[in-house]
Point group: C2
Chain length 248, copies 2
């Protein structure tokens, strides 16, 4: 998961800065981005700004306006739900294909090892979890899962979806540390990790697909909880601030 070098070129600095502003919700959905204004603001010329915006459009954070130029993409609550649904479907497909096609021994060992390491972050006490480590390893698990079927196509599309800040597998984890019910859900998630790998190893495609879907939909439950009961937690989930507040 090597992130692009933060600041080798002006375009990259502009890209990172713009992405930050968008995901923080500083630029509401629909906002038109003007090259000259941004160039002046970022102290570079229009050229790297264009390059940055072009890449952000590729990422899905910007849209190309019909008559040229870019605008910030609007994400309503429903769009976030559907994106999480989409991640579930794609991870389910990765799991099913891995089961159907079979997985090389090395890859299976690799993801099993990640699951083992995830076990280690749970302490003796029920709610005793190293969240930092869990988040990192959880990301590794989902990356390994995407790679299991050995399909560049699937891996690529999954990477695309997961690149949206609120669709990252670890996006909602910081929240889970807050409430004990959430903490317990981590253990449930880990159990799903284990069962998922077992299903794939046993070549049980339908079960693997169902498990992966259900696992991804834990994020949906968290999202629904935040928006219905604890709206203040919106700020704790990366990228959730860019969701249009109007359509709850």
């Amino acid at each position: 998961m090597a992130r692009e070098a933060t600041s080798k070129t002006h375009a990259m600095r502009a890209l990172v800065e713009l992405r930050k502003r968008i995901t923080k919700g500083e630029l509401p959905g629909g906002t038109r981005l003007f090259e000259v204004a941004l160039a002046e603001d970022l102290q570079v010329s229009r050229t790297p700004v264009r390059e940055a915006m072009s890449r952000l459009a590729e990422e899905g954070l910007l849209e190309r306006a019909p008559s040229g130029g870019f605008m910030v993409r609007s994400f309503a609550y429903a769009d976030v739900l559907d994106t999480l649904e989409l991640r579930g479907v794609l991870e389910g497909t990765a799991a099913r294909l891995a089961a159907e096609r079979g997985v090389p021994e090395a890859k299976l060992r690799e993801i099993t090892e990640v699951v083992r390491k995830l076990d280690e972050v749970f302490g003796d006490e029920p709610g005793d979890v190293d969240f930092e480590a869990y988040s990192e390893l959880n990301g590794q698990f989902h990356d390994a899962l995407a790679a299991l079927p050995g399909s560049a196509t699937i891996e690529r599309e999954l990477a695309r979806v997961k690149s949206l800040p609120f669709a990252s597998p670890s996006a909602f984890l910081p929240n889970e540390g807050r409430l004990s019910a959430f903490r317990r859900s981590l253990a449930v998630g880990q159990e799903q990790h284990r069962e998922l790998v077992a299903a794939i190893a046993a070549r049980e495609g339908a079960r693997a697909e169902a498990l992966a879907r259900e696992h991804a939909l834990a994020a949906r439950r968290n999202l629904e909880y935040i928006f219905s009961s604890e709206h203040s937690m919106v700020t704790t989930v990366p990228g959730l601030e860019l969701v249009a507040p109007a359509e709850k």
Copy 2:
């Protein structure tokens, strides 16, 4: 499905020309595209060439090279198979969500009307089909299907996948006209259209998903046939010429 205006700007002309060359297989996968060379060839400056390449990367036909610049994306036989699988999965999801969430009366009427028009292109004789009209209406059906659940997210991702030339719902249709067995398969496809709409209307999510997946996989059967038995037909499917010939 309004295609972009072919030639309002230099960038658009370059985009269209480059896309043509790539899908025709004139530029093999992995080919590095140099801005200056292309600019000279297309009689424009580097700026619109960059813009065109950037959009083609967004489309999935080009990849960004690690050290800057672009290269033609390689599509192996397996990648085409996986892309068709992916389209099946996404159309299945669109169908399932439409069934689960319910579809506004107007949209249901619209897609039913497309199915009705598709009926009309079948003549009295078994193999008597207006392929031109079938192809156009088939595209309309799949566009309407993508829009059924009312999810911009799903519709967008589906549009992305279908934009790859060999993943278009009508990509393999020209072939089907060649052999009588293929002609019969059109009738099978139309029956699937009908059942799919019925399943969605009846809110049968699982069935709708299965039907949509199976329907999309007809393309996979055609692909397998072409590559195993009638490799000469590769030229008759748009965009299939760009598939790397090496890996069978």
